[in-house]
Symmetry: C2
Subunit: 326 residues, 2 copies
């Protein structure tokens, strides 16, 4: 734990009260001058910290920016997801950064945020718009003991976790559009890109890439997307504080990852089906060059969509572009 | 094409006859002195090239080493596999090198050989013994338009291609042991490690890693492997010329990859079943912590093994450790 994390923890533990410099210096094992220097540093990052000669330090407000030490302090000790958090000002794609970490042997649970991505990616190599500080763009490294065919479960779990976090932080009800989008009032607000490296029967690692349009104004969307995309701010009529939302999502992801590793995917699938706009609808799914139409009946064992075709067959669909027909 | 490839092509086109320095200098567009310098360089690499003042140059023998220009000259223009060949003296694992190429955007068909691997890998992270010049250790980069579930087809196709090449070059009949081994007289001689990078419904790239125990003497195997492993040299009683074998394998791989992309996987599956020791046998397969017993009935659509369990169910198995029970 860095000194900044310890200072933020101590200030937060005081719950709006003050912590003396002596106390901080003793519990951190550094000089009072060193404490002062770190406080100054935090102030320069945008933290509003009151210093009173008698009472000590008091945290009045934190800035609406992603700061690794701050996220670690807010998150508390996680089970898996978030035990290593890194924030970049700008990257090509956070999935690329996590892929490098994966190859370097970093443990599962590492999370990389970027304030902006220059080459954010959606499914099938599509571009994902990721302007600075308008949303959450981050990726999570997992090393589940799973076969590649089971990886869809992680997308399903991420969708349920993300939906709960959006609800708890904003009160908004997001719907899940299979396989990887979250919609609010029918318009896309968040997406999940699951990438994996595997042998035929063993996953080496999975990268969950998550993008949430948080504080976009309508004008921030390109004209051609405005009718299909929305943001939390646009739906709420006020901005959302990103660090709170980021931490809430990480906690929910950690919770659902624990459910999967404990063998309780069925519970997640049930929750997912309840909130999925795709289930029970007549849909057309484009998978590469192929188009399949039918009624989306349920979520299969491994996270695939079970589609009843016009010929009455039940097809397992792992991914594709869904158009709802009714 | 490098000048060395052009010189080797010209000498080989003469089919044991001579090519004059003037002719080479003209067709290559370089001076006769430059031709002489390249010939000297080839000689230093072990090529036996006769130079006669009147007749010119004649290729008498090539060394039994892997040399990229030599392999390119022997292979001729490939459809896909082998259009970029690199030979390293030593690498950690050729799959690692090809993974780097894949991320750098290198086109499919690139092949990386290593004279030795310091960290050769088998399935499930197992070690693959790869001593210098005792075998062929190489990896192929593919970018097939396939879903991850179809990747097993590439292992199946590699096994059929490898079997044909071993047969044409040595006369030995190899049997295929599902999912990824080739056996001669019941002992392992070659293996295939398929690794992939993918989104849930789209392969980004596949790396086929292939290892063939060519010129191992029995003493080259660690004692604990001697009863299970063999080499082409041990079975034939004489060494095999590696460049011939390497080129034969690349040609057969290219052929089977073309069959797959043309939609003729069924033909490959049929050939595979004919040469597979696993089909028709009672087997136990260990998949992670799970054990499944039954009769291996056939190869499924996507390259999986179809196993009839003791309860009469037909299970699709994507990978695992097979023990033959009878």
């Amino acid at each position: 734990m860095t000194i900044d994390v310890q200072i933020l923890n101590a200030l937060r533990a005081a719950a709006g009260g003050s912590v003396s410099g002596t106390e901080l210096s003793q519990s951190l094992g550094v000089s009072r001058a060193a404490v002062w220097a770190r406080i100054e540093e935090l102030r320069s990052l945008g933290y509003d910290i009151e210093a009173s000669p008698h009472l000590g330090y008091r945290l009045l407000a934190a800035p609406d920016v992603l700061h690794a030490d701050d996220l670690i302090s807010r998150l508390g000790p996680p089970r898996v997801i978030g035990r290593d958090i890194r924030v970049f000002q700008s990257t090509t794609s956070t999935n690329d950064v996590v892929e490098k970490l994966a190859r370097d042997g970093v443990k599962e649970g590492a999370v990389v945020f970027a304030e902006s991505q220059t080459c954010g990616r959606g499914r099938l190599g599509r571009k994902w718009l990721s302007p600075a500080r308008k949303g959450l763009w981050f990726s999570v490294l997992l090393r589940p003991e799973m076969r590649p065919t089971e990886a869809t479960r992680l997308t399903v779990a991420s969708a349920t976790a993300l939906r709960r976090a959006l609800h708890s932080q904003t009160g908004l009800e997001a719907e899940i559009k299979w396989p990887n989008d979250l919609l609010i009032h029918g318009r896309k607000t968040a997406g999940i890109l699951t990438e994996l490296s595997a042998e035929l029967d063993r996953i080496k690692y999975v990268i969950l890439g998550i993008g949430v349009d948080v504080n976009f104004s309508p004008a921030d969307f390109p004209a051609e997307l405005r009718s299909q995309a929305t943001s939390l701010k646009a739906e709420l009529g006020k901005p959302v504080f990103c660090p709170h939302l980021a931490v809430a999502i990480l906690k929910e992801l950690d919770h659902d990852y624990a459910r999967i590793t404990a063998g309780h995917f069925a519970d997640i699938a049930e929750e997912w089906e309840k909130h999925c706009t795709t289930i029970g609808r007549n849909v057309t799914i484009r998978v590469g060059a192929r188009q399949i139409s039918g009624r989306a009946e349920a979520l299969g064992d491994e996270g695939a969509l079970l589609l009843r075709t016009e010929h009455g067959h039940l097809e397992r669909i792992v991914g594709g572009d869904v158009t709802i027909e009714e």
